[in-house]
Each structure stands twice: as structure tokens, then as C-alpha cells.
Symmetry: C2
Subunit: 365 residues, 2 copies
């Protein structure tokens, strides 16, 4: 974490920014290692080009921050205190006037920006989010090791889901079983609402699970992930229940082929947009282009959707340590939908899928 | 919903505000009846003093908004379109220049405020949140009827939790069982992380459940709630497992007495702060004042924490239709903690507790 803060300080120095106010819980966690949900209260980290950073959080959480290993300065404010004034004091101690500040523009509320900017006479405002995204996009060994565990728990969730399938069970019952078993493994939060979609419901790319009962001949689509030690996973697998039609099999194999083709070019140096394009070309040439209405994937890390965006428009280049999903799909409400999704890590000379569940078409008896 | 929008328009007219930009999903839902999570995309409702409102949301959700009964104008934007420019067009159609706008200051991000204010030459900025809170603090019959259902599901969650208790079971296992059974009832979201705390863990007002195993003599504290049709519930009950000491019984009965005293004065006309003060006086006189470190409760509705704040400092007056929690507690790590919480509705001449689970001390065998 210290190294990350130093990197940010170096950037501020280069850009002649006097202070950065970090206040998303995600970036606070990334820079301090301390994860908390401050609800409506202020959580912030002040980072300076030269001086040491200051953590700002509700007083009742100060002990937990220190327990987590934070050795820097802390402003632990009580509900009746004004954390902005206390921050002003720390900034004054650090000397020389503030002329340019950097904030997370899409995170800091307008109301808080008024409080913050009000501390200074006149101040230039920069957005620090793009640089934070750039830092976070390359995962280090400690992050990768946690993401492996998160992906393993997602694999386990799919396994539990498959074992819960029986004729007449509802989508919600299967979801409840999956989350129940993951909770018993210590998972306290899913990365998003768990999906189990049966038959025609699987044919909607953003269907909502409900009371639909499982019938023979249904496709069954699972999409789920966990939050684990601050990092997320996200897996999709599709199965056939008791039988499969030729058309379902054709669609399945086409999606699998598209996924395989995107994986095959997943290595340092590849243009990111090529992954979507490659999969899309395969699906389009097979005549299913209109039934694949979303981008191929998204970056994965502390947030379940983060950088890089895996759109065909992304001209960025894959680098070692990037983690993202590849998740092509074909959705036909009359046949059902198929999506297959892996969590992918870019390695020295290729890739590794963090999710390990088999992708061959499986007919559940 | 139409009535609520008209009330807001009347307010804007009185205050000479030309347009309100509502962009919290909660207030959007309150004013339109349509509930959605836009993630990083913009969701907004433009409300005018005279003209009809305009809903702004991602194009792929437009159909769902219309299905929900919305008959007004809609801007459904695609990812490559600029919703701000489209909003500017609608505002221009509605004539006369915009001089004062109203936003939710603590919700709208600084980045979005730049986009919005950039549409105008020069503009005054007001905060609309206080008025929205004022509207939302009094619940109508349709809201109360949903909150009754939400509270009934919370009662059910406690019942499931009690039935899951057996020697050696962990806190997380009991939580998984509670959420599993609620999911089967159609609950897709809890209002907050479900708490089940055993023994010394119950003695921490914000303890985190984990692997602690249940032992005879433990106090068992459940704190949970559901989100149901857009509204929340929130219940706490504490039980003794197999046996109870005199000290545990004393604490329990003191908390129950404090809760009862606060309920007794819950009626239209009471100063809100008196509820906290009354409970606090009882607990303090018994010598446990230092072990009751939080306010007596919070408003409850679309948000699990909303207005009114049930602090002893609140000089507001209870009115018919207000809904809030009362949840006194005494936390002694060496004895365990007791908290008892009801969801309360202010009626014509008194109160009704929406949560119905018995509050008498119960020893689970």
C-alpha cells in the first residue's frame, strides 16, 4: 500500500497538484488496505506530493484502521465535529498554499465539493480517477492471489447450483441454495445479484430470476460472483437440463468457440478491442450477431466492473497483470440463451483463466 | 406519484426554482414508482414548476419504465449519446431561461454537476434534498401497507433464526439459514448485512458475525431487515440460550423498560428528541448509561436510515404517518449485549408497532 501511495505522490508532484482527496471506499482500500463502508459519513485520504498522507474517518472506526496496520496520521472525527476544518488544519501544518486540488469527480458529491473547495481562496480542480484507474488496472501478486480465491468460490457456487437442479425447483430456490452454501464458506457479500435463469428466461441478457420452475429441455444459466477480501469474481456457465436440442447445441458451441478465440489472443501486446471483435465476428458470421447485444466483458478487481472496458472500441493494449472477464452470449427467447464467462489474468506470455469450471456442454440428468 | 410530483412542482413555484434535477434512485422511485439501479449510468427526473416532468434513463430501460405506468416524457439515451444535451433540448422546449436550479447536493457528483451547470450561462444552485426528505417523512396508506409486509418478513426472519439455534452452530450458519428462507419467500435484498451475534460478540454494538459457535448461557442478538417492494424493515431481538444469569435478565428487562417508555410517548405532538431522552434516562439511572452509545433509532422507509433522526437533539414533532425504529441497547462485553428494536408507525392518536415478534425474555432450549 505504501508503494501505491508513493506512486500517487510522485504523480501529484509531476502534475503540480498540491493535494488529492480520495474518498471512494474502493480507492481508500487500495491505498490503505483498510476496507469500510462509511455509509453517509465522510471517509477520505489526503495524499500530498511531498508530505505524509492523512486518513479521515469516523472516530469510532479509528481503532480498526490502526489495527489494520495504518501507521500514518489519522483524523477520527466525532459526529459533532467538522472533518473539513480538521483537514484544513492538517493541510496548513503541511505548509505552502493549495492552488490545485485533485478529487474523484464522479464520486465526490457536489455538497462535499463545496465544503472542500470552501477551505481555499481559489483553487484549480483536477480529476484523480483516471490515474487511480490506471494504477489499479495492473494487479500485483497479492491481489492476484486473492482473486484466485474469489474465483474458486465462484466455481464452487456454480457447482452448488448444478447440484440443486431438480424438476420443479424455482430459480429463486436455486439462488438461495447457492448463497447459503457460499455464506457457510465465509462469503459475506456477493459481487452482484446472483442469477439463475431457466428456459426462455435465459434468453434475456438481463433477465430477473423469479418463480420460473425448471423443466426438462431448459437451458440453465448461472451468473454469479463473490466479494472476497475486498476483491470480486464473476462467472457464467450454461447447462442443459435433461436434454438438448440441435439448435441449443449449435448456439452453445458457437459461444464456446467465440470465447476460445478471444482467449487465444489474450496476451501482452494485443489490442484490447480485438477480443470483442474476434468473438463478435465469429458470432456474426454464424448469423447470431443481433443476439449478442453487449460488449465481451469488463475489467475485474476491487469493483466487479472496472477498467479496462473490454469493448471493441478500446485501443488500449493488454499488459501482464490485467484481470478481466470474457463473456460472449447468444440470447434467443424461443430457444433460450447461452453465456459462458471466465475471469482472465494476463500472464508473462499469455493468459490464465482464474475460473476453472469446465466449459464443455453438459447435460444435467 | 402524480400527486407527489405536483406537490414538488408547487414547491418549486413558491421558491422560484426553474427546474429540479432528481437523481437518487430512491427519490426517482418515490416520484415515479419505478425502481431501478442505474449503476454508473445517469438516472434522472427533471421536475418543473409548471411544465410536465421528464424522465431520463438508459434507453434499454425505457420499456420497463413505460410498463410501470409512466405516461410522461422520457429521454432514453444510448451509450454513445449525451443525456445532458438531450435534457437541454427538453428544457429549451419548456421555454424561458433557467436561472435557479435545484439538485440533491449530497447525491449529484461534482462531475455531473459540471455537466449540468454547463448547460446554462450562469445559474443559482439550491438543495432539493431537505424538501424531498420532508415529503418522504410522512408515509401514505400505500407505503404503510408495504412496510407492514416488510416488517412481517423481518419477524419471519427472527423466527427462522431462533429455530436454527443449536449448540455449536456458528453465527454465519444461522445468518445463511435466515437469508435462505427469506429468499424462498421472494426477498431479493436484505436492508443491511444480517446480524446474528452470540455471547461476548453481542456485547459489541457493531460486532461482525463470524465463526463464533453457540454455547449454553450465551445471549443471542439478531438484527435484520428486508427490502420489499422498495421499502425496508429493521428488527432486533435478543434471546438467552438454554440459561440466563441474573445480570443478563436485569439488563434485558432494563432495555425492555426503556423501549416501552419510548413507545408510550409515541404519538402525534410529542417532541421527537423526547423518545431518546426518555429511554436514555431509564438506562442511565440504572447505571448503564455508558453502555448505550448510540441514538435510540432512525427514520425508516425507502432507505433503512432516513428522516427523522431519532436523536435526543431532534426538536421536530411526531406526526401521523411517520415511521421509525426504536432500538435501545446495553452492551457489556463480559455479560453480552441486549438490544430490542421495533419498527413504529405513528397513528391518529398513538402508535402501532409494525414488527410483532414478542419482546418478553425468552430462553431457547
Amino acid at each position: 500500500m505504501k508503494q501505491r501511495r508513493e506512486r500517487l505522490s510522485t504523480y501529484l508532484k509531476e502534475k503540480q497538484i498540491d493535494v488529492a482527496l480520495i474518498n471512494s471506499p474502493e480507492n481508500f482500500f487500495y491505498l490503505t488496505g483498510f476496507q469500510t463502508d462509511p455509509h453517509e459519513r465522510l471517509l477520505a485520504l489526503l495524499v500530498f506530493p511531498e508530505a505524509d498522507p492523512v486518513a479521515v474517518l469516523p472516530g469510532m472506526e479509528k481503532g480498526q484502521l490502526l489495527d489494520s496496520g495504518w501507521t500514518g496520521e489519522v483524523i477520527g472525527y466525532a459526529d459533532h465535529e467538522d472533518p473539513w476544518l480538521m483537514m484544513k488544519g492538517k493541510m496548513d501544518e503541511r505548509g505552502s498554499g493549495v492552488q490545485t486540488v485533485s478529487i474523484e469527480k464522479e464520486v465526490l458529491s457536489y455538497g462535499r465539493s463545496e465544503s472542500f473547495f470552501g477551505l481555499f481562496d481559489e483553487v484549480g480542480v483536477e480529476d484523480i480517477a483516471p490515474y487511480m484507474n490506471e494504477m489499479r488496472v495492473i494487479k500485483d501478486e497479492s491481489e492476484i492471489s486473492i482473486m484466485r480465491e474469489a474465483a474458486e468460490l465462484a466455481d464452487y457456487g456454480v457447482k452448488v447450483g448444478v447440484e440443486a437442479l431438480r424438476e420443479g425447483v424455482t430459480e429463486m430456490e436455486v439462488i438461495a441454495t447457492i448463497e447459503y452454501e457460499l455464506k457457510k464458506k465465509g462469503v459475506t457479500q456477493m459481487s452482484f445479484s446472483t442469477m439463475a435463469l431457466f428456459g426462455e428466461k435465459s434468453g434475456q441478457p438481463h433477465g430477473n430470476p423469479g418463480d420460473r420452475k425448471l423443466k426438462p429441455g431448459d437451458l440453465v444459466l448461472f451468473d454469479l460472483g463473490v466479494v472476497w477480501k475486498g476483491y470480486t469474481s464473476d462467472i457464467t456457465r450454461t447447462f442443459a437440463y435433461q436434454s438438448v436440442t440441435d439448435e441449443q447445441r449449435t448456439i452453445y458451441n458457437k459461444v464456446l468457440e467465440a470465447l476460445g478465440a478471444s482467449l487465444a489472443i489474450s496476451k501482452p501486446g494485443t489490442r484490447i478491442g480485438a477480443l470483442d471483435q474476434t468473438a463478435r465476428d465469429i458470432i456474426t458470421e454464424a448469423g447470431y450477431g443481433d443476439l449478442f447485444p453487449h460488449r465481451i466483458g469488463h475489467g475485474l478487481g476491487i469493483n466487479v466492473h472496472e477498467f479496462p472496458s473490454m469493448s471493441h472500441l478500446n485501443d488500449g493494449i493488454l499488459q501482464k497483470g490485467m484481470t478481466y472477464t470474457i463473456e460472449p452470449g447468444i440470447y434467443d427467447p424461443s430457444v433460450g440463451g447461452v453465456r459462458i464467462e471466465d475471469d482472465v489474468l494476463i500472464t508473462e506470455d499469455g493468459y490464465e483463466t482464474l475460473t476453472k469450471t469446465s466449459k464443455e456442454l453438459r447435460i444435467i440428468e
